[in-house]
């Protein structure tokens, strides 16, 4: 299967293809070839550095959506032991777009909650591309309550384009399900560490997307609206998404600057999918560090600080 190439990677991919074709030639028969290959290799390296070290917001959005990018279940597989998946909302369905589990990170027993994107089309169809139905949020809420009752910290992984906007999602109370998650997450008496690993799309991300610490991957985004939808509203043209992406201040760096994110995990050149284990390892360290720090606070203080943290977000002028 051909490697997935993001739009902005096209020039680099073309060069890489040429290089691969040259490598198939017989070097011995054409002596200058070795030099040409070496030159091309240097060019590829230069281009790669330029391309990936200065990703625009819109390019980051593309990286965040890359099918090979590590997903929630990859982080679980890399980092956690003794996993017991918690399935179902006990009311309607087990929504595959939301993943919840008991899991252990280096001896730390936690509840994991994450949007559940797949790598392949087949996986994604089964998981509604990581866009939860109401029962997905209700499953998440169930996991939150379990965590709260048994004093287990919560670790969430954000990776959704947004909540599912289908007819039946509306009829089964999508807004109600999300709002209940928000209320519950605001009140659980255990530490909540949130990791933005890919897409952070609107209310569907927020439902499991705030807490006591927000760790963002370098190329993950978190936004009030998708750049395409924003462009459609502003310019009646989804193709102007790159502009919208810039305007929305949705990158990890933007969130750090605005005081919404606490830290940014750097990604290898090209994105987390180039060295998933390394990235996962670093993410694990960040989560563990955050959990250890938060576990020292008593739950009253934790709750109070979480609320203050939320209340501090927002910018306005007060004239009186």
């Amino acid at each position: 299967m051909a490697r997935f190439v993001m739009e902005f990677e096209r020039p680099l991919a073309d060069l890489e293809e040429k290089l691969a074709a040259l490598a198939n030639l017989d070097i011995a028969s054409t002596p200058q070839l070795a030099a040409e290959i070496a030159e091309l290799e240097r060019e590829v390296e230069r281009l790669r550095a330029t391309l990936y070290s200065t990703l625009s917001p819109w390019e980051k959005v593309q990286v965040s959506r890359h099918p090979d990018r590590p997903k929630t279940v990859d982080y679980v597989a890399y980092l956690f032991d003794d996993v017991v998946e918690l399935r179902g909302d006990r009311r309607f369905a087990d929504d595959q777009a939301m993943y919840t589990a008991l899991a252990t990170l280096g001896g730390r027993r936690v509840v994991v909650i994450g949007h559940n994107k797949g790598h392949t089309t087949k996986e994604n169809v089964a998981r509604n591309f990581g866009s939860p139905h109401p029962e997905g949020f209700r499953k998440a809420e169930r996991a939150m309550r379990l965590a709260d009752r048994f004093g287990l910290p919560i670790v969430t992984f954000l990776d959704t384009a947004g909540a599912s906007p289908g007819l039946e999602d509306e009829e089964r109370g999508q807004a109600w399900a999300i709002a209940d998650c928000l209320a519950t997450l605001s009140a659980v008496r255990v530490p909540v560490v949130v990791v933005g690993i890919g897409e952070g799309g609107s209310g569907g991300a927020l439902a499991i997307g705030f807490g006591d610490r927000l760790i963002m991957l370098e190329h993950a985004y978190y936004s009030v609206i998708s750049p395409e939808m924003c462009a459609l509203i502003l310019h009646k043209d989804a193709a102007r998404a790159p502009e919208s992406a810039a305007a929305l201040a949705l990158t990890a760096e933007d969130l750090l600057r605005m005081g919404i994110a606490d830290e940014v995990v750097p990604e290898p050149l090209g994105g987390a999918h180039r060295e998933p284990e390394t990235v996962a390892g670093e993410v694990g360290v960040r989560i563990a560090t955050a959990l250890d720090a938060l576990s020292e606070e008593d739950s009253d203080g934790l709750l109070e600080r979480r609320y203050e943290r939320l209340r501090a977000i927002g910018e306005y002028n007060e004239t009186d």
Binding site: G166, D169, A187, F210, V224, I233, A246, E315, T319
Partner: protein
């Protein structure tokens, strides 16, 4: 994004806003046409009936202040948290610059943002009341709206008041980016704290209520009312239609449909909202709960049919 749908939907039809100072889209402000039954109505007649069409019961949009006045005890409303204005934190200028949208909205409405909040009484029950004004950038929730809503819940908690919110909204205010999205969590958290303090919260959803506002404080109320004909949802109807690739069923996302789907308690006509809200507060306010059964000011044991 719901705002989009709503703006599009609104473009197509002749649209009037009832304000104290007259309407925009009619020449003289004396006559208006009911969009439901198409009759021409005398503006004064409409206003006397709380902007409900006397012929077909269509509920016209109301400005926030009029909504509050229709709900609370006359003269009891005192605005709180005035003087908050958006700082345009992202210097958002894609499309129409946010700063100019804000300026125009302020001029048109005489408000500084979409939320109006204050203390009041409803049938004597002390409450903090809030209302969103759809004229102000589609009553979208940015930092100022989120702050006012959160402060409203906090004040109610401190002063042992109930909260009543009259909600209309296109959703989050995208021009404030993530700062806007986070208001969902902030307002939900504030509502949750009120709930845990044992104080009641009643919401009244009016046309239209969508997106990040629906999916946060609006539906976290102990009792949820909605105005007849109000459209309420998370995703806007156009987005849903695009998603499912077929046309929407009749009545989709209307207040009546939401009631049958179990999402709201009652569809309450505007003229009855004060008494319905007051009745609910009578059950849920701590002070009233403290009144002992059979106390002097309560009615007799059995009002009718009993032998006691």
């Amino acid at each position: 994004m719901p705002i989009n749908d709503w703006f599009k939907q609104r473009e197509g039809r002749r649209y009037t806003v009832s304000t104290g100072s007259g309407t925009e889209s009619l020449p003289d402000g004396v006559w208006r046409t009911c969009p439901e039954c198409k009759r021409t109505l005398y503006q004064g007649e409409v206003e006397r009936s709380l902007s409900v069409c006397p012929h077909c019961d269509h509920h016209f949009e109301l400005i926030a202040r009029d909504r509050i006045d229709a709900l609370v005890d006359p003269g009891s409303f005192a605005e709180i948290d005035a003087g908050l204005v958006s700082s345009d934190p992202l210097r958002f200028s894609a499309g129409k610059p946010y700063a100019s949208s804000l300026e125009r909205a302020c001029q048109t409405t005489g408000m500084d943002d979409a939320a109006l909040t204050g203390t009041a009484t409803i049938d004597g029950h002390p409450v903090v009341v809030g209302a969103l004004d759809f004229r102000f950038i589609g009553a979208s929730m940015g930092s100022v709206v989120g702050e006012r809503i959160a402060r409203a819940f906090e004040r109610a908690r401190t002063e042992q008041r109930g909260v009543v919110m009259i909600v209309a909204s296109g959703g989050a205010r995208m021009q404030e980016g993530m700062l806007s999205l986070m208001q969902m969590a902030q307002t939900a958290a504030a509502a949750e704290r009120l709930s845990r303090a044992g104080l009641p919260y009643v919401s009244m959803l009016v046309n239209p209520t969508y997106g990040g506002v629906t999916a946060s404080f609006a539906v976290l109320a102990d009792v949820i009312f909605a105005e007849p004909g109000a459209m309420i949802g998370f995703a806007g109807p156009r987005l849903v239609e695009q998603t499912i690739r077929r046309s929407l069923p009749k009545g989709f996302q209307t207040a009546a449909s939401l009631q049958s789907h179990g999402m709201i308690d009652e569809v309450v006509p505007r003229g009855e909202s004060r008494s319905r809200v007051a009745t609910v507060l009578g059950y849920l306010m701590p002070a009233d709960r403290a009144v002992p059964a059979g106390a002097d000011d309560t009615p007799a044991l059995l009002p009718e049919g009993g032998e006691a």
